[in-house]
């Protein structure tokens, strides 16, 4: 396969100079409209609408359920709208959980780990993409291979390791084992490979070593991919139930998903509080996604491209 040289990074630069990003096929369609095209577009939009409805209905049910009393929920379980409104679910979460504490723990765990991930993943990806060294291929396959084993099976060995380090129920025990991710390394490596080496060359001529190239050339161009990875990591860590539960043992260290399980279980008699918890838990992620959407589209564009 081609060892690519010119690639998306240079393309963007070139296009920017030419006055605008390259567009997809849509532009030309307008000029050559055929009757079939209109019909196809309509069908496409209908299908999209159906898809969107299927995607959103469970949400609507979930959010509306968080405002319904138990009696109301069971009187019309299929209904998407509350018959009898109540804030009880949200109030219970506030009153029965050390809410600020668990949210803070979630932010610390998800936030710090994401930042560390971005740092370590990008450093490692740089090495795999730009530096030639013996064992590079092995390192890459090692990274990929670790994606292939289910996490449940490593839970106990890791627990025992943390025990031996004395890291159980500590922030470092919670964060450090998760401070890098094979998925992130893989993704960033793909991205870095697509950044043209001329830019490296230019910097090297100016006397930059690898660290400076990494920091001043690669990373700025990688902002979109980094933002994408940041949101994905943050989302996974924020929703992670088992890892924080397994590695911590006191309520002070509890994260939000774990705290919300207090209301669940085999005998649920208050669905509103469960659904309220889920809705609240969702909000920071939804916000992060909205904010980062522009980065997504632009950024992930560069991944997996070699």
């Amino acid at each position: 396969m081609t060892t690519s040289t010119e690639s998306s990074g240079a393309a963007i630069i070139r296009d920017a100079r030419a006055g605008g990003p390259a567009r997809g096929p849509a532009r030309t369609t307008r000029r050559m409209r055929r009757p079939g095209a209109v019909a196809r577009r309509t069908i496409a939009w209908i299908l999209l609408a159906i898809g969107a409805v299927v995607a959103i209905v469970p949400f609507v049910w979930m959010v509306s359920g968080s405002f319904r009393t138990e009696a109301d929920l069971y009187s019309a379980p299929a209904s998407l709208f509350p018959g009898e409104w109540t804030l009880g679910g949200y109030l219970r979460i506030w009153s029965e959980l050390p809410f600020l504490r668990v949210v803070a723990n979630s932010f610390i765990f998800a936030g710090v780990t994401t930042l560390l991930c971005l740092l370590f993943d990008s450093l490692c990806a740089y090495a795999l993409a730009r530096l030639e060294f013996r064992g590079r291929r092995l390192a890459f396959w090692l990274v990929i291979a670790t994606l292939m084993v289910p996490s449940q099976v490593t839970l106990i060995p890791v627990f025992v390791e943390l025990f031996h380090f004395g890291w159980l129920n500590t922030y470092q025990g919670l964060i450090i084992p998760r401070a890098t991710s094979a998925f992130g390394i893989f993704m960033l490596r793909q991205f870095f490979l697509s950044i043209p080496r001329e830019l490296d060359e230019a910097a090297r001529i100016d006397g930059a070593g690898h660290l400076r190239i990494y920091a001043q050339v690669i990373l700025p161009l990688a902002k979109p991919a980094l933002a994408t990875l940041a949101v994905l990591h943050f989302m996974n860590l924020w929703n992670d139930l088992l890892w924080p539960l397994a590695m911590t043992s006191t309520t002070e260290m509890r994260t939000l998903p774990a705290a919300l399980t207090l209301f669940g279980g085999q005998h649920v008699n208050d669905h509103a509080v469960l659904l309220a918890g889920a809705t609240i838990s969702l909000l920071p992620l939804a916000l992060a996604f909205f904010l980062a959407q522009r980065y997504f589209v632009q950024g992930v564009a560069q991944t997996g491209l070699k």
């Binding site: 690519s4 299929a78 490593t154 889920a278």
Partner: protein, 313 residues
């Protein structure tokens, strides 16, 4: 024609006449590389790779967590595994799940990405709607869908009965449970796939389409000869990640059906969980994990071959 085959997705053609740039040979700075890769590799080795190797060691014993002595079994766990009908059932279920869900996600994700390529408020909103299911915590998704699919009180039942159909036990009928779980899994992940493919599509330069149109290509031909080849690397990356993840599916299945009814949704990791944490047979569970690992390895190697993708630069 050199243009289309020589380009990675998102790369524009180099105008004719300009040479390919000299490959810069990076001086072998071995030690610097280890500095860069060090932290990640160290964490991976200590907290992921080593435990994985340990789990292989567990699989060679009748491993009881916390026992002072573990009984050596050699490959007996693996022998038992290959003779266990529940294992083959789980293998079949996992295979079906993976193939169907990966194909569906690729097709639907591609369709959504392709239809929502243009920038605009409406397309952004619809994209967000499709991405929402990915954000919600799994336990909640299980609860919500169980309610919606309940044959007596669910929303879906309400809709089907209003069409005159009998109440359908989506998660209760062993023949329907797996398709239903696949549906919910695709529902949850298609937004994620869409976002990645969308980005790939955005990188295909317009002039490739124009050039192809000048050659007389239309509609599906454009897709076949321009779009798909251009996003092949993105497709590979996406397919590999989706495959790896779907072979390891657990959380969604666990919250929806725990592998039932009648083991019709019992995936390999669900079985592994049951053997390890409910039946306390941790050696056996580790053996399942390692067989799964081997299978995924083989599949990934095949995918790399099929997509003719060479990592070495």
């Amino acid at each position: 024609m050199t243009q289309t085959t020589a380009l990675p997705a998102g790369g524009a053609a180099r105008p004719a006449g300009r040479e390919a740039p000299r490959r810069s040979r990076t001086v072998r700075r071995g030690w610097q590389a280890w500095l860069f890769a060090g932290p990640s590799l160290a964490i991976i080795l200590v907290f992921i790779a080593f435990p994985i190797v340990q789990s292989f060691w567990f699989s060679l014993h009748d491993w009881k967590i916390g026992a002072t002595e573990q009984k050596w079994l050699g490959l007996a766990n693996y022998e038992r595994l290959f003779g266990d009908p529940l294992f083959w059932n789980a293998f079949r279920v996992t295979l079906v799940f993976a193939v169907v869900s990966v194909v569906l996600q690729l097709v639907l994700g591609y369709a959504a990405a392709s239809a929502l390529q243009r920038e605009g408020l409406l397309t952004r909103m619809v994209r967000s709607v499709f991405f929402f299911p990915t954000i919600v915590a799994l336990a909640t998704i299980g609860l919500v869908w169980r309610f919606l699919l309940d044959p007596s009180i669910g929303l879906v039942a309400g809709i089907t009965t209003s069409f005159g159909l009998p109440a359908i036990g989506w998660l209760q009928d062993p023949a329907l449970a797996l398709p239903t779980v696949i549906f919910v899994s695709v529902w949850k992940n298609v937004g994620f796939t869409m976002v990645i493919l969308l980005a790939g599509l955005k990188g295909v330069p317009a002039h490739l389409y124009e050039a192809a149109r000048l050659d007389g290509a239309r509609g599906l031909q454009l897709t076949r000869y321009v779009t798909l080849p251009s996003i092949r690397p993105t497709l590979l990356f996406t397919t590999m990640i989706l495959t790896i993840n779907s072979f390891q599916v657990f959380d969604l299945v666990y919250v929806m059906t725990k592998g039932g009814p009648l083991f019709s949704t019992d995936t390999l990791v669900t079985m592994m969980f049951r053997e390890g944490f409910e039946n306390f047979d941790f050696g056996y569970a580790s053996a399942i994990a390692w067989v799964l690992f081997a299978v995924i390895m083989v599949l990934s190697a095949i995918q790399l071959r099929v997509f003719r993708y060479d990592d070495v630069d």
